[in-house]
Symmetry: C2
Subunit: 253 residues, 2 copies
Amino acid sequence: MISKNQIKHIQSLHSKKNREEDGLFIVEGIKLVTEFIQHQKFEIAEVFATSEYIEHYKTLLINNHIPYSEISTDELKKISLLITPNQVLAVVKSSGQSLDSDLLKSATSLYLDDIRDPGNLGTIIRIADWFGIKQVICSPTCTELYNPKTLQASMGAVLRVNVVSEAFEELLPKLSGIPIYGAVLEGEPIYTSQLTKGMIVIGNEANGISKDVLKHITHHITIPAANSNGSESLNAANACAIICSEFHRQLTY
Amino acid sequence: MISKNQIKHIQSLHSKKNREEDGLFIVEGIKLVTEFIQHQKFEIAEVFATSEYIEHYKTLLINNHIPYSEISTDELKKISLLITPNQVLAVVKSSGQSLDSDLLKSATSLYLDDIRDPGNLGTIIRIADWFGIKQVICSPTCTELYNPKTLQASMGAVLRVNVVSEAFEELLPKLSGIPIYGAVLEGEPIYTSQLTKGMIVIGNEANGISKDVLKHITHHITIPAANSNGSESLNAANACAIICSEFHRQLTY
């Protein structure tokens, strides 16, 4: 059962403005919701699920003290953002993740400078997770972490990667002595650069790294194209995947 | 000017069925349409453009003998698939690209086994273009090349890469002696594999490489994750980007 007011409230969380005001966001689908419950990184306000989900996951819900309501498939459709809702929707508290300054020094991290596409942001967090990068710092102009498309594209990686928002200038005093890598058109080929632990800056989809950040890049790197046959660029997430892979190769293999 | 019948016809090309029946597809936006005209890979049936576009590109249109009509912004909105139409739309003939068997032997190519997402297909063609891979072969179950989302994501790379559709079994007799690389969960790490020219198979987003293709893979490769912390997979296009980058590095650097 779900009341009309509850339906209205959850529908209001389909918009960014309300998500930010209420400090809540939505997670959907059997796999992702179950991971959110198991992982306990975020506090779950309430789960709305069909009898089918509850039958399978009742013990998990009870053991983790998750408030839940059984709803019909039709009710789920009303509150879902998916074309094909999948048994369960969770309302989750977006309790702030905070910057881990020690991680900046001890490990490689990513700084995302104005990534605007939610699919790209989610995919980049998934790439970070794959390559063991534990912290992703987003510029305040990046798209929203709690956008359902970001969460869906991250495939649960948000549960394992610390994703925080901070202006580069605020970050700068904490980066003393840390190499800052930035992919630019005319840099040293990543394959022959001596890559070390540091911070990797990924720029905006259309405009690359912004001027204000560019001046602080200490290592200018490039993904070399095969030839100048007209190909102009790689998608930001693909560029990030290639760069993270090359860091992983050089530091581990 | 554009007639009601022309508007109806172009709108009909918004659907895959009609694109296939008519052998026509739509390209939109200043940059992409202009590239299509300049590149002459595909025959352009007609260009519909606002006065602004025609003013800038009249010589190009005339020199290339492109039939064109001036239309209003409102008319463009009616025939466009974009939320923000951008001055011009071209109706283009999807004259068949055909398999280049020699390229299979002389260069590295990609085989896409059931890539379903148009964004992924377009992005993968863009990656191929970047790394100088001149031929991409799609399984017949792949999403459509002429889907507007595929074309948009490819960013004009379809003009420089030969993209054909062929069942793997049909292809097989032409692959004799050619290494066939496939990314699987338990393969040799790409970083330490001795990669050579050959064919790289990229599998479906959810299910990976299909059984029927898997049995013909001669080299099983893996993108190693940093640790087994729960990250399960990479997006198909990101995996493709990393694999193509590593081939490029080993074969060129």
